[in-house]
Symmetry: C2
Subunit: 275 residues, 2 copies
Amino acid sequence: MEVVGRDAVLDDCAVLPVGDRFLVASTDMLHAGTDFPEGMTDWQVGWMSVAVTLSDIAAMGADPADILLAVGLDDPSRLRPILEGAKACCETYGARFAGGDLDSHRELTLVSSGIGFTQRPVRRAGSEVGDVIGIVGVPGRAQAALEGHTHYLQYLLTPCPRVEEGRVLAAAGASSMMDVSDGLVSSLFDMKEANSCGYEVFSAQIPTVQGIPPDAGLDLALRGGGDFGLLFTCRPEVLPLPIPDLYVIGRVIGEPVVKLDGRPVKILGYQHHWD
Amino acid sequence: MEVVGRDAVLDDCAVLPVGDRFLVASTDMLHAGTDFPEGMTDWQVGWMSVAVTLSDIAAMGADPADILLAVGLDDPSRLRPILEGAKACCETYGARFAGGDLDSHRELTLVSSGIGFTQRPVRRAGSEVGDVIGIVGVPGRAQAALEGHTHYLQYLLTPCPRVEEGRVLAAAGASSMMDVSDGLVSSLFDMKEANSCGYEVFSAQIPTVQGIPPDAGLDLALRGGGDFGLLFTCRPEVLPLPIPDLYVIGRVIGEPVVKLDGRPVKILGYQHHWD
């Protein structure tokens, strides 16, 4: 809404020039009722709460610096494993766990906030007609785990933010980027929202989860969230890049629509928005 | 606890060197069950949620830059007035309201995170024996309002972070500083925790809320929270400073205790701590 301003809500992070660099900053709220799958340990809760913010920083192509964690605890005994998981995630990705705020709460609620730095922030806006559309990571693995494919539980319970991959993509000249934590189709619509062009993807090029029938796998890939992959665009000549888990899935088109195999896609489901 | 590290939890903000300046960062969780007094409007809820973080930034002597707000909403209609109050508080103190995260939650939960910059961060550690102890703001006014003195409701409902005063104190050479959002005595103990010296204050020098019997006023001043004042120490020759609401209330002593009128004070009540 106009209270915040359109620019402030389009990207994964807020961006602030600092000297000859850019600072990026993001915050994410998670709480027990909706965000922590059954069976998730408190260590994993802590890991996840940091990973969501690191994923936002990665999606700007930035190096994470400091992470703060606000913890609303329903049970004091949960604090230590949560902090240990949070700290482990910070250390894995080169961030400093810099403290936070501690409160009691009826429902376990975690809000991580983080800052990072980059010479060249990659925003959601910036796609150009003729760019290729790429993703990092096979989409749908977290959703597959949620739907009972326990082989993929690690993707659901300890998701890996793509910090190094985001950095490589930014340095190589990606024209736009975001993380796909809310699912591929949803993310393509978010990209369209931030740009004046459209996005066409091809089901034959979208990698799908192994060990699941192809149609079900494609469905998981298109709508499944929680994977912390990256969605990006770049000039075709930017590729290949030294990122093992990178897939080209389509191209940027002039018509401002999202297309799958030549047909416009409609978006389903409720989404939270500032406006 | 050792998971976070002692340095990370002693100050109002995390501190990070950035070029020739220091970045400070803080996060604060507020939620309906404990933090928003009855009768507080949603606009005031938004204001307050930003003010707590600005107060932390002020307590480091820093200029606020960006504020992010994570909003867990129990009712979507509350969003607009909350964001308007949050934005008004940002604009009043020269911060940019840079977006955030939006979620639904059973209990209205707001977490603001903010960054600021300063040439010289003032930490809690740094007090030296012989320094004077000063406060900015009359302590106890928010608590007075909570206890029915409605004349002081503005201090409870739209508290004013002391951004300009913090900046002046830092530039003038304050040796240590923190905000007194949890009450004066509690804050003196927090200062002692961060230093190897002690703090002696004198009841005759502590300003009290007008229109309340002196004993009750002193009690409010000592234990009342929510005022967003500043507690600081400095060499005596640093004063006077052009801060109208500044009071010298005591001195830094060698013995590591908190004293009121010559007698050691004990701290009462439960406090949230990382360790």
